[in-house]
Subunit: 526 residues, 2 copies
């Protein structure tokens, strides 16, 4: 686990939202009010000019301070980039009452929540569930249009807020916690999903000139959003850069750390769109483009999201051309996901079963190539070895679609590096986010020319960067400053589909590329 875990000591040299304070008790010589006394100490420890205290905490404060001998464990939160901190909870410094935060990856399809102990950074619980808005529409566009109906936005908003409340409550129950122990929610999602969560109209996100209601949401009280956690609890939503570049990507940058390295590195997140960030500790460029569906396995007839029985890895013996498939949970195969498709294309190419334009080569495919209604299909798994009772096949059209996707991806990578005058081979680190990144074999992706020909160790799979970035916010105050830094540094590159782009795209539609010299490591059969 590559995550900042909070360092704690009593000297105040900590970076988390939990702070221990010890005050000198009041006397006739020093009769400062309780709240002002605590604020003065917190100001010192937090190195800030301003601390405010929530009324619910203030009302308990004089009793608690006297009970605890003028010491307390304090839950604090910073007000965005203003020099203002809020004290939102106090607990007995001698007891280990749990103080918890929830990280949320608010995906269009799946939502992941994670309970984190704020004092230690310990992960207590992970859970994921379908975004209930799927019932309104599977994609963002349908949901945005649904908001134009009377009560539509309120309905979609309630769906996700209610689901989060339910899931947070269940997660707390599983850990023997009360929702009142939750003081902080950090939430990352794309711009549309965070707008729906906040109850903000997404109407203008999809209409020229594509204007979000807000890019940098303020830290709000949880009850403003209807979240049922501690009444003083706060919600931090990772900011977006625009309608098509969301807080999930900012979380990804934060987690990847590309913004902290001197060497330029790249972060790629493949979902419905391919989102790419390139940069280092002094600049960041981002862009997004349509490259995803085929890579996610969403286009091929047998393509599906990763899940039990789905082919995620595949090998073809270049000599015997025997297929070896691996499925998730090692069940009988029922379909193929993006990483499986990439392995398939790479192995077909390396064994000569497809040519450099991705066309099936009949003499190499042999009996695996079958015609149905005049369309050529390649059998990947025979009927008697498949989990569906039917053979698993891909068509020439499926393969063409994959090749267009890989070409689009490479073209985006070429365009973004070109835009800042560096070569793809200059990259010292190449981060791949998401489920896609978790399963993909970089060697296969390089073989088909989807990713640049870099040493395999250059590629790094980061997992759910949206969740990890949100988790980082829960355990590090510095992360807020870092996020603000990312926001200020980043330039969004509009991908103009002009002649240069189309030329690059055409050149990339070959396996691995028209310019073979770019992929020296890819060795096909002579």
């Amino acid at each position: 686990m590559d995550r900042n875990v909070m360092k704690i000591d009593e000297s105040g040299a900590v970076d988390g939202w939990i702070r221990w304070v010890r005050l000198s008790p009041p006397s006739l010589q020093d009769n400062t009010a309780d709240a002002d006394r605590l604020k003065n100490q917190l100001k010192k420890q937090l190195n800030t000019g301003n601390v405010e205290i929530d009324l619910s905490v203030l009302r308990e404060l004089p009793f608690r301070l006297r009970d605890w001998g003028y010491a307390a464990r304090c839950v604090v939160v910073k007000e965005g980039d203003a020099d203002l901190w809020h004290l939102i909870g106090v607990s007995n410094p001698l007891e280990n009452q749990r103080i918890v935060g929830v990280a949320v990856d608010l995906g269009t399809s799946r939502v992941v929540i994670r309970l984190v102990e704020l004092s230690t950074g310990e992960i207590l619980f992970d859970a994921s569930f379908d975004n209930p808005q799927l019932g309104v529409g599977p994609d963002v566009l349908t949901r945005i249009h649904a908001c134009d109906q009377p009560g539509g936005l309120e309905k979609l908003n309630r769906m996700i807020v209610d689901a989060l409340n339910r899931q947070i409550r269940d997660a707390c129950n599983s850990c023997g916690l009360d929702t009142g122990d939750v003081y902080f929610v950090a939430l990352a999602g794309n711009t549309s999903m965070t707008h729906l969560f906040m109850g903000l109209s997404p109407r203008w996100l999809i209409r020229e000139p594509y204007i979000p209601v807000v890019n940098s949401p303020d830290v709000q009280k949880a009850d403003a959003y209807g979240l049922q956690i501690n009444p003083a609890g706060r919600v931090f939503i990772l900011p977006n850069i625009g309608s098509y570049f969301g807080g999930d990507l900012i979380a990804g940058i934060l987690h990847s750390g590309i913004n902290r390295q001197a060497d330029p590195a790249i972060l790629v997140d493949v979902g419905t769109n391919a989102e790419v960030v390139l940069g280092n500790d002094s600049w960041l460029v981002a862009c997004a483009g349509a490259a995803g569906p085929a890579l996610e396995g969403g286009v091929a007839q047998i393509g599906m999201m990763a899940g039990p029985g789905v082919i995620d890895r595949l090998r073809i013996d270049p000599e015997t051309r025997v297929f070896q498939v691996h499925t998730i949970d090692e069940m009988l195969p029922i379909g193929i996901c993006g990483s499986g498709m990439i392995d398939l294309a790479a192995n077909l190419f390396l064994s000569g079963m497809i040519d450099l334009r991705g066309r099936f080569v009949p003499e190499m495919c042999g009996r695996k190539l079958v015609m149905r209604s005049r369309i050529a299909y390649l059998e990947i798994v025979s009927a008697d070895e498949s989990g569906t009772g039917q053979p698993l096949v891909i068509s020439q059209a499926d393969m063409d679609s994959l090749i267009r996707s890989k070409a689009a991806m490479y073209t985006i990578l070429e365009t973004i590096t070109e835009s800042v005058g560096i070569a793809l081979t200059d990259l010292k680190a190449f981060h791949v986010a998401g489920t896609f990144g978790a399963f993909i074999d970089p060697v296969s992706a390089v073989s088909i020319g989807m990713l640049p020909d870099l040493p395999p160790k250059t590629f790094r799979s980061l997992g759910n960067t949206s969740l990890e970035g949100a988790t980082q916010v829960l355990t590090s105050c510095e992360s807020m400053t870092a996020i603000e830094g990312i926001r200020e540094k980043i330039t969004y590159l509009e991908l103009n589909v002009n002649q240069t782009f189309m030329n690059r795209f055409s050149a990339a539609k070959f396996l691995p590329h028209t310019d073979r010299s770019r992929f020296p490591s890819v060795k096909t059969r002579p």
Copy 2:
């Protein structure tokens, strides 16, 4: 009316909580989010680094900005002394929708509320009512003890919050306003009253070492206190310096302006205690002492608070010794208030009817002096001229009590000026606050040696400074900075009742003073 009235123009050179903004509309070239666009403009106009937007405002914002052509009238509020502003309301810049604030003088006995139009500073409505906590106890101490009962604090808190809600609603109705038009409440009161309003335990205010829960309350949302105004409305409570020096006095200093003048000036507020502030634009000293009851008319048998039929002014012809009384509303006299008592003492002294120790002089009082149960009484109003059917009389004990009070007042004034090494005669301005200040005749007060012998024009009656100070907060953002400046500058002088104090007190128990040279203007009959 000596109050800062807000200056407004479209250049941004304003000092109120209402700001007009005009934005450039979004385009493909400038696709900043609505909220961020508005924030950037407000940051410029407010000269601040941080603006936050309440969620309720944010949800309406994209619709409103488009309806209004990217212009808006904004209601903003500053977060204490942090460089952070909140946008809490927007309204159509072309309509004159009223945006209102409520100033509250939260007195132990009487509460005064005032509705103020925030755009213009116009006073729309004043109302006053008895503090409903009088039902629990007339004085602060009884109420504080009542809080030790289970549910006691909650009961006292609900009493005042409910009464304020009722009165604000009625006041709004009277002006054709809705409580939703109220965005700001500024409240001044003594430390105990503000603690009860905030729902904070006053328990430790009266127990050594006399610690308030809070001196500088943060700006809170009205609903945190249970106040029913606009849901985004804010409450600003004027800070106290300690248990015995409340926000009402800070309001007084703000209104008097002594903190903005180079010449040292003094502010005196006589209530249950005499509270005194001395200072100028670089320093402030404050103290409080028991001097009040007799001066408020609270001790004499016929003493009462100012009201219809109460003697507020009195003259005795030095030749004929005929009494001329003036009553409030010119009704038949039923009692005498503080200013009447001071006039009485001064005139009795100047006409020789009391001696320099305040003793009745029988040969001068003549038939007005009567004995009842061996006690000497002086008849002020005969039975047939009185509104009660009984003669209005004061006893020697009443007069002694008044003299102790005036001596205490003078001693406090002498002590506080002495503490900073200036003479009472150095004072260029002498402000008297409150009802007491509104009625008192400075010449009479000087005649008995209660106030120093300064030219009459030096004395200035300020009226309800607590209400006026709170009103100033409603119309001037600068006032918040000024209040913070007052808080930081002020030194609280503990009045040690030591030998020096007692010596001064004894010397001040003569009329006008043992040291006659201090009162050259006071001419008694030879």
